[in-house]
């Protein structure tokens, strides 16, 4: 009896471990719009859902397949255009597809283009692949100007998502309905992309990434492996594009362009390419920055660029890498040994950042605002951009912050060494 009970508890534990994270994700997706109720928050959450699919599909190339693409938005944009055209055809009553399944049309479009472009570009990885991806991106961006019938020229193609044919009874007049559609597809795509990493194809994609020279000698055609992986990534990017079309009811040529391709690269990288969940963090953070920071400052792209550079230099494994670095420390119950040093580093880091920020904002104010002589505001504090006091304060913050941060960094290093030492001793 007792054994029976333990076994039952063990199976329950097993299911919690196995599916708990997915149930949590589903609950979170369902509940977030009930917590953040404003229209702005809802648009942001919708965009985040789309970005999560897009970034994870990008990581199928970069993180899992070792392919650094500069043109992944091609499939996002083409998926979007194909979906919006399909939407218009459905509107005319010529195609009986419910709006809920429209993203699949985009996915299929991405899939077909993925086969073609994948075959062309994946003979080799590395620089060759990166350059070809750049070329394909430029090719599609350029043809968007030459084929106004498909890409709609400057104003793009618009559609109307409020169709007669639906599966769910949602009419998609309200943003919340669109959000739930995006959330539904997001969960499905994330789950499928996760499962893909566990399949023979997913594992062999890792092998080809790790050592393309050896892979043929265990029976694999590296070109074929990359092409399939690339095509599946394009499929999911196409689904993200389809959701974009439904969400905004307009698709413009910008969606296939280089900026979009760069954006998904940065999301994925900032989130972390080495762990499956990394790009999710990146997509959420970068979307948040893109949509909210832009409301506060013209210089938001500069901050974004600084963040990206900082990650490349100091945290090449991204946010996920930073988190996973602490996982063994957490397990050993030694986080308390790191936190004091982190706290001591946090204050000077904030000072350093504030100093830099004041300097950047002053410069933006002087060079870009309509009236540089007018007083400017940061966090509600008014001051004169020309005054040497504001400049002096900025530099003071930077210098003091920098000096103390350097010291605190040494302390952080020291704590890490202690913690590593203790963990090793416990292992023995």
């Amino acid at each position: 009896m007792n054994q029976d009970n333990t076994q039952k508890r063990n199976t329950t534990l097993y299911y919690i471990q196995r599916y708990g994270i997915w149930v949590t994700a589903a609950l979170l997706t369902g509940l977030l719009p009930l917590i953040f109720r404003s229209g702005f928050a809802l648009s942001m959450l919708s965009q985040m859902g789309i970005a999560i699919i897009f970034a994870l599909s990008y990581n199928m190339l970069l993180g899992q397949g070792g392919m650094l693409s500069f043109g992944h938005a091609v499939f996002y944009g083409l998926g979007g255009f194909i979906s919006i055209h399909a939407l218009n055809i459905i509107m005319d009553g010529k195609l009986p597809v419910p709006v809920e399944l429209l993203p699949l049309v985009g996915g299929l479009g991405g899939f077909l283009f993925g086969i073609v472009f994948g075959w062309i570009s994946t003979k080799r990885a590395g620089t060759t692949f990166a350059l070809i991806s750049l070329g394909i991106g430029e090719l599609i961006a350029a043809s968007s100007l030459m084929l106004p019938g498909f890409f709609g020229g400057e104003e793009g193609i618009s559609g109307d998502r409020m169709l007669e044919v639906t599966l769910t009874g949602f009419e998609f007049g309200k943003q919340i309905e669109v959000y739930y559609l995006i959330g539904f597809w997001m969960l499905i795509c994330v789950y499928l992309m996760y499962l893909l990493t566990q399949t023979p194809l997913g594992r062999v994609a890792n092998a080809v990434r790790d050592n393309p020279e050896r892979a043929p000698f265990i029976g694999y055609d590296t070109h074929r492996v990359r092409t399939i992986q690339y095509t599946l990534a394009a499929f999911f990017a196409g689904i993200a594009g389809g959701l974009f079309a439904i969400n905004y009811e307009i698709v413009t040529a910008e969606t296939v362009g280089g900026i979009e391709s760069g954006s998904v690269l940065m999301m994925t990288y900032i989130g972390g390419v080495g762990h499956f969940f990394g790009p999710i963090l990146g997509a959420v953070l970068v979307t948040f920055m893109q949509l909210s920071l832009a409301n506060y400052t013209h210089a938001w792209l500069l901050y974004f660029g600084l963040l990206f550079m900082g990650m490349v230099l100091w945290a090449p494994n991204g946010l996920a890498g930073i988190i996973m670095l602490h996982e063994p420390v957490w397990r050993a119950g030694l986080m308390t040994k790191l936190l004091p040093a982190y706290m001591k580093a946090a204050l000077p880091a904030v000072m350093l950042f504030l100093g830099l920020m004041v300097l950047i904002e002053i410069n933006y104010h002087l060079s870009l605002s309509i009236d540089p002589d007018a007083p400017m505001q940061i966090f509600g504090i008014q001051f004169d951009a020309h005054s040497p006091i504001s400049w002096g304060l900025a530099f003071l913050l930077i210098i003091v912050g920098f000096v103390f941060f350097r010291r605190a960094a040494g302390l952080v290093n020291q704590s890490w060494q202690n913690v590593t030492y203790e963990m090793k001793r416990e292992l023995r």
């Binding site: 399949t199 092998a207 050592n211 000698f217």
Partner: protein
Amino acid sequence: MSKCALKLVDVHKSFGSSKIIDGVNLEVASGERHAIIGPNGAGKSTLFNLISGFYEVSSGHIELNGHTITNLLAHQVNRFGLARSFQVTNIFPKMSVFENIRCALLWPMGYRYSFRHLCGRLKRLNAKVEEILEKIHLADRRHIPAGLLAYAEQRALEIGITIAGDAQVILLDEPTAGMSHSETDRAVDLIRKVTEDKTLVVVEHDMSVVFDLADRISVLVYGEIIATDVPDQIRDNPEVQEAYLGKEVA
């Protein structure tokens, strides 16, 4: 002689104007352990690269178990039942030891490019991985990223990847290079164990290993095979002594 597992007929290879392999003829019988020896730069590794499809031959003909494999691509040669290891350790460094072996089993066990199966649920596959890990004595290192293994362990893994798919013909390129005496002894035992009932072609510099392991030996000098015979005859062959053994052994 029993059936011919590997047959090279008048194989040539030049890079630009320099001839590296200059008319090699070689027949390795099925089930034989065959060693290729020769001084540095004789073209031993190049010969392996030609057989395994890493390079294309300039001219000549190569057969594997009766199939012509001349100038096939590496993965095609592999699918005909030939596996090889490398002189410089050539594994999948970021993947775990377990994953390294599992990947080497996927194609031979018929999973190809499947994205319908989940690796974790394939019992037969995972049992086979365990079996090989036991054989190469890396079972307790399974979760470690292969790149972090000690050198001798990496060499064992290299052999594990090579033999995992049950290929009938195994090429090992200097499997004991850089190993200590005791490590070498263990490696030779391992090689003997995992290549039982298989055809083995091995390039090796360590003469004690060669004479211990091989049924027959071929001596490659400046891209030509000057002698192929059983170990005792090779030891006594004056031409071989002059070209190779004489300088190194004396």
